[in-house]
């Protein structure tokens, strides 16, 4: 294993971790402020990817496609919040799980009806399609570097939004005491819709950015959603910082485990067995990570209560 390959894998891990953060940040905000578990968050990721693929197919512009993913996912999020989610805040978690499960069925099958079962392809813009040479002679795809950069900028923006702006103050106040901020004259239902749309927009953007690397298809959102749940459990529900740390941990474990475990096992068993055992173990690695965190910190790394 050369150092170059290792660094490349670390970058891949960072990239998938940053995308997971975009998903997990919305989920954890929505849970932290509204106390809602939203299984349909993966559908918003899918909607963003489909909107981007459709707009890119029609106009050929990747920037327009990204804008479309943000706007469509935010709009879908706002409509879903006003139409369905709003009725679930006072319900128990079981009702929330079921209603959002029903939303997944409706949104997934609706998308299949509109776009068909075949995957769509969203092309990386030509200017970013090639590799760039990093210091130290590492050649790495420019697009993936861009994703890492965009993700970091959004993470920084989100921290600023929550720590420094008036909306951020209201969000944090909503997390600790929602009745009090309603009493202080904040329109709480408008705030909830806004937070839900913000989370949806982040998920939609992640869907579009990842959609350009993988294919855009129905059902693409749920595996990411479940990984984002693992991230939140590791980081602690309601904590944006926890979501960032958890997402990077999960992204790196997942990527490096798939490369390093078969390699490490090839020392003790023959090559084909090492590959199959290694990849099977690697597929379990993030859940083992989650189990270990839970044993020592049942509320996650940055969780309270």
């Amino acid at each position: 294993m050369t150092t170059l390959l290792l660094i490349e894998q670390v970058l891949n891990g960072l990239q998938s971790g940053i995308m997971l953060f975009l998903m997990a940040a919305g989920l954890t905000l929505i849970f932290g402020v509204m106390g809602l578990i939203n299984l349909a968050h993966g559908s918003l990721y899918m909607i963003g990817a489909f909107a981007a693929a459709a707009v890119a197919g029609a106009t050929g512009s990747f920037v327009l496609a990204l804008c479309a993913s943000l706007i469509t996912a935010a709009a879908a999020g706002a409509i879903i919040e006003v139409g369905v989610i709003r009725r679930l805040y006072d319900r128990d978690h079981l009702d929330q799980v079921l209603a959002t499960f029903a939303l997944i069925l409706i949104l997934s099958e609706g998308t299949r009806w509109a776009f068909g079962s075949f995957p769509l392809y969203l092309d990386v813009p030509a200017a970013l399609a090639g590799p760039v040479t990093l210091p130290g002679g590492i050649r790495y795809p420019a697009y993936r570097l861009l994703i890492i950069g965009v993700g970091l900028i959004i993470a920084a923006g989100l921290f600023l939004l929550i720590a420094r702006t008036r909306i951020g103050i209201q969000i944090r106040a909503g997390e600790s005491d929602r009745e009090m901020i309603a009493a202080l004259g904040v329109d709480i239902s408008k705030l909830y819709t806004l937070i839900f749309a913000l989370g949806a927009a982040l998920a939609g953007l992640a869907g579009a950015l990842v959609g350009a690397i993988q294919s855009v298809q129905v059902g693409m959102g749920e595996p990411v959603l479940i990984l984002a749940f693992v991230v939140i459990v590791i980081g602690g529900i309601g904590s944006i910082k926890g979501a960032l740390v958890g997402a990077l941990l999960v992204g790196l474990t997942d990527t490096l485990g798939g490369v390093l475990l078969p390699l490490a096992l090839s020392g003790v068993m023959d090559a084909s067995a090492a590959t199959s055992v290694g990849s099977a173990l690697a597929s379990m690695s993030i859940y083992i990570l989650m189990a270990v965190v839970l044993i020592f910190r049942p509320t996650g790394l940055y969780g309270t209560a």
């Binding site: 578990i37 978690h93 799980v97 029903a102 069925l105 479940i226 749940f229 597929s283 859940y287 044993i295």
Partner: protein, 327 residues
């Protein structure tokens, strides 16, 4: 008799009635549908102990369903190829005998439920939902990436396993067997609900502090409930695999776990026969709606959304009025 008891008896007799009519009309496919409904009902009856009585919203019960399925698949495939399963320390002969397979499925899924429960029950609420979901996904990806038993393609068994004295390949005889298992499990579950353990478990859901005051541990009550629940769902998994003569990683998929919860809520949460009604309704809807449209899941989603938002007692609740014994 109470209205709910009447309804339960009717529902319970409807399944064999449908199977008997199908036998007379010579429509084996309908018998298979009834068998499928009975097996899915059994899986949800298992989950209902944890979810309805214990209040544990497990989104990972497909783990036990899948383990039961693979217990059948692995044992039967070794019997099929006459190659014993070498585990290093000891060697297991494959088998085509249902009682042995069932026992294995129950033991394996109970052990898995014990391990998952020990971890997941340290937490509660949303954490519990997310963790059970995550463990389900772990098993799903493990079976996909483990090549020995078919990996992503799954594992086919050519001949249905045998039960002493029955020809299991005859649809009506296999239905009878499945229905008998369902009836026995429902009887036992009814006894558990009314036992001291069941009462304590129900109280732990409503007010854990009270249970602790009388010296019982809510954690242990929930763990025992989770293990029994997982074992019953595992048994259903072994039967489901035998019905299809096929196991694949989709038995572990999170949609499967979601559907089990849907059965319980469609039928009516916290009622012994809720999962049975829900599973029958689901199989019926699946059969009818998939004939109407390729995108029948949209309709199912809409129905489910309606039930959750506006008809919280499910079908039984709507028919007999509110006030189930818990929920």
């Amino acid at each position: 008799m109470q209205r709910e008891t009447v309804l339960n008896t009717l529902v319970f007799l409807a399944l064999p009635a449908v199977a008997a009519i199908a036998l007379v009309l010579d429509e084996p496919f309908t018998i298979t549908l009834a068998t499928r409904a009975a097996i899915l009902a059994l899986a949800a009856v298992g989950l209902n102990l944890a979810l309805g009585l214990g209040g544990l919203v497990s989104l990972g019960h497909a783990v036990f369903f899948g383990l039961g399925g693979y217990a059948m698949g692995i044992l039967a495939s070794h019997a099929q190829s006459y190659a014993p399963l070498d585990l290093g320390l000891f060697v297991i002969e494959g088998t085509k005998s249902m009682p042995v397979i069932w026992l294995t499925a129950v033991v394996v899924s109970a052990l898995a439920a014990l391990l998952i429960g020990l971890l997941a029950l340290r937490t509660a609420g949303v954490y519990f939902i997310m963790i059970t979901l995550a463990f389900g996904q772990m098993f799903y990806y493990f079976t996909i990436s483990w090549p020995a038993y078919g990996g992503e393609d799954g594992l086919s068994i050519y001949v249905r396993n045998s039960f002493p004295g029955l020809n299991t390949l005859d649809p009506i005889q296999f239905f009878g067997l499945v229905f008998a298992v369902l009836a026995i499990v429902l009887f036992i579950m009814g006894r558990i609900e009314r036992s001291a353990f069941g009462l304590a478990l129900g109280t732990a859901r409503q007010n854990a502090a009270r249970v602790e005051t009388v010296g019982l541990s809510p954690f242990h009550l929930r763990l025992v409930a989770f293990v029994i629940s997982g074992a019953v769902t595992g048994l259903a998994g072994a039967l489901f695999a035998d019905l299809n003569r096929f196991v694949s990683p989709t038995m572990f998929s999170w949609q499967m776990s979601g559907e089990f919860i849907v059965f319980i809520v469609l039928g009516g949460i916290g009622r012994l026969f809720g999962p049975v009604v829900g599973a029958c309704l689901f199989v019926l809807l699946e059969h009818l709606l998939s004939g109407v449209s390729e995108f029948w899941l949209i309709y199912l989603g809409a129905i489910l959304l309606f039930v959750v938002l506006f008809a919280r007692g499910g079908v039984i609740g709507a028919l007999v009025g509110r006030g189930g014994h818990h929920g």
